[in-house]
Symmetry: C2
Subunit: 360 residues, 2 copies
């Protein structure tokens, strides 16, 4: 055990500061090499982000449709055909030194399995939200990554959006007085595909869309909710909503007394918004959860405020991928680790329990 | 008993139509003569509306502070000093032929008593919202007015706002597909006075502010909610919120499957809004519940829509007062009768029960 007294610590800090000003070694500058797992819409955006990054690079693919899908990405990103895997030989990535990490862009119910298998293969994991379809799975994922000494980060892209970072700072600065509550929602009417399949999705719109206001509220409040009330409803009849509910509305109370309300739907159109309510003002974010074009306006003790993100898709994915690469390089815990994903799943389970619905 | 066959009915209808085209009799044109009960902010607005109306007139006052308050209104509206009453001699209005109706602008817990006493005095009643502080009181008010053969109308001013009438028509026209849900809220941080006194207010912000989105949702949906979930919270410590909760968030499910969420607060700032969510579009009303300046915008199957109310305070009060006068003159049931107020109180009681809070 090394005892570091105050003077030694100061000296070490100065050395560290000096070394960070020097050119980094070739190894430190090498990009983090990713294998996206699943090649759907979200993985496509992620690959575009890596193509713009100096810190990340896509060097491999994991897909169930290699013949149809792989050639395009091999050409686009210079991926070697020998680095294309399917779900059968996925564990073989363990032996491929050209893969440092995986990006899990699969349907929700597959996140846990493919994260744990990646961890066992010694690869770092950047996993899309929702982290999994149960808190039990989240814990298994956290354990597997810890045991195999790999990083685990959940792709909460809004945490890496400069506009949202400013909103959070403003909300917590006292500019709207003390935060008292939130209202938010994320709704859409055109959802189809695997998201309506309970086995793949693990639940309804709350896991896919409602998780955005839920996570934003938790993030901005800095607390964990401990009382929940909720209802689910399905108005549209027929097979479309036979497995998952159409809409959910929920509210959450926090230990300090903050009261938040939110909802989501796969069957109704409404703006995607978050209202941050203070004793002395309000911040209104809308559109709040998209890939670009985010805006907010509000009233503060200093007067009216408004701001908009000038950035274009895939800037959020680029920022989150670069943060993950930094964390791997510097052996730091990501700002949105597995524990953050677990906390959302615990809230989601509590919301579904309050609504009288099973999550999976 | 008179038997009216179809031909007789048609003839009578034609006669009625013809007579309505003739100049009205002097009696029919005489304005409805009001005694406002309580001379607070809302009664002041109501009196301004009557001053602009050809159908309504303030001819009397009921106030606990006659010496300080009466002279101003006597001068403004030409009220005779002999027509000024206090809460002690209120029942004497029975003997005053210059009073046809009362306008109840008192704290919530006094609505029932002063409505019932007016009914017993043979005067028609236009009562502010919330109708009362319990469904039991609402039923007593309805019974008293029925037994004494006087009209009872609850002052839901938004029902008489042309903009809200257009919003309702648009929402129910199919222009946003089928209505699936609503989100709304009405929040303020500066509330003080009797509204924070449980004995006078009967409850918290739900009775005073949350009732607006609640009523709008019921009105636009055309259904009565039958499942409720809710939470109350108080973050601000100290005596201000010792008797009523600071904030409430609730959701309501309707028999058709419509799911609605709303909230209100006396301690937090947020916009006053209502989102009407369809399968094919959305209407967003904001500001939604004020005395003027109301607006909406949205997306419909026909394209984007937006509209704003050009009218100025007290146009809503003028329209509601004139409607009440028409109903008295024509012996019609008002569009917002006591039964409408009762339905809101039933929902409010269910919401407070769901939140685990007593209403009074």
């Amino acid at each position: 055990m090394t005892i570091i007294n105050r003077r030694t610590f100061t000296t070490l800090s100065l050395l560290a500061a000096a070394s960070s000003a020097l050119p980094q070694s070739a190894e430190a500058q090498m990009p983090l090499r990713f294998a996206p797992v699943g090649l759907g819409v979200i993985s496509n955006i992620f690959m575009e982000a890596c193509a713009q990054s100096t810190k990340c690079k896509v060097t491999a693919l994991v897909t169930g449709h290699a013949q149809q899908k792989a050639p395009k990405y091999e050409a686009l990103y210079g991926i070697s055909p020998k680095n294309v895997y399917d779900y059968g030989n996925y564990d073989e990535i363990a032996h491929n030194p050209e893969i440092d990490a995986v990006y899990i862009g699969l349907p929700n119910s597959m996140h846990a399995e493919y994260t744990i298998r990646a961890a066992k293969a010694g690869k770092h994991v950047l996993c899309e939200k929702p982290m999994a379809i149960s808190s039990k799975e989240c814990r298994q994922m956290i354990d597997a990554c810890r045991q195999n000494n790999v990083k685990l980060m959940i792709a909460y892209r809004l945490h890496y959006d400069p506009l949202w970072q400013r909103i959070r700072q403003l909300a917590r600065s006292g500019a709207i007085g003390e935060i008292q509550g939130f209202q938010g929602g994320f709704y859409g009417s055109k959802t189809s595909g695997w998201r309506l399949n309970r086995k793949l999705a693990g639940g309804g719109s709350l896991l896919d869309m409602g998780i955005y206001p839920l996570n934003a509220i938790r993030w901005l409040s800095g607390e964990e909710p401990d009382h929940f009330a909720a209802q689910v409803a399905t108005k549209i009849s027929g097979p479309r909503f036979a497995q998952v509910e159409e809409s959910i509305e929920f509210n959450m109370r926090f230990p300090s007394g903050i009261l938040a309300s939110s909802g989501s739907s796969y069957g109704e159109d409404a703006p995607a918004y978050l209202s941050v309510d203070g004793t002395e003002g309000n911040l209104w974010v809308e559109p709040a959860y998209g890939y670009q074009g985010l805006k907010y306006h509000g009233s503060t003790i200093h007067g009216p405020v408004s701001d908009a993100s000038p950035n274009k898709l895939p800037y959020q994915f680029l920022a989150e991928a670069d943060h993950f690469a930094d964390c791997v390089r510097d052996n730091r815990t990501p700002a949105t680790p597995g524990e953050e994903g677990l906390k959302d799943l615990l809230a989601i389970e509590a919301i579904y329990r309050a609504a009288g619905k099973p999550i999976a």
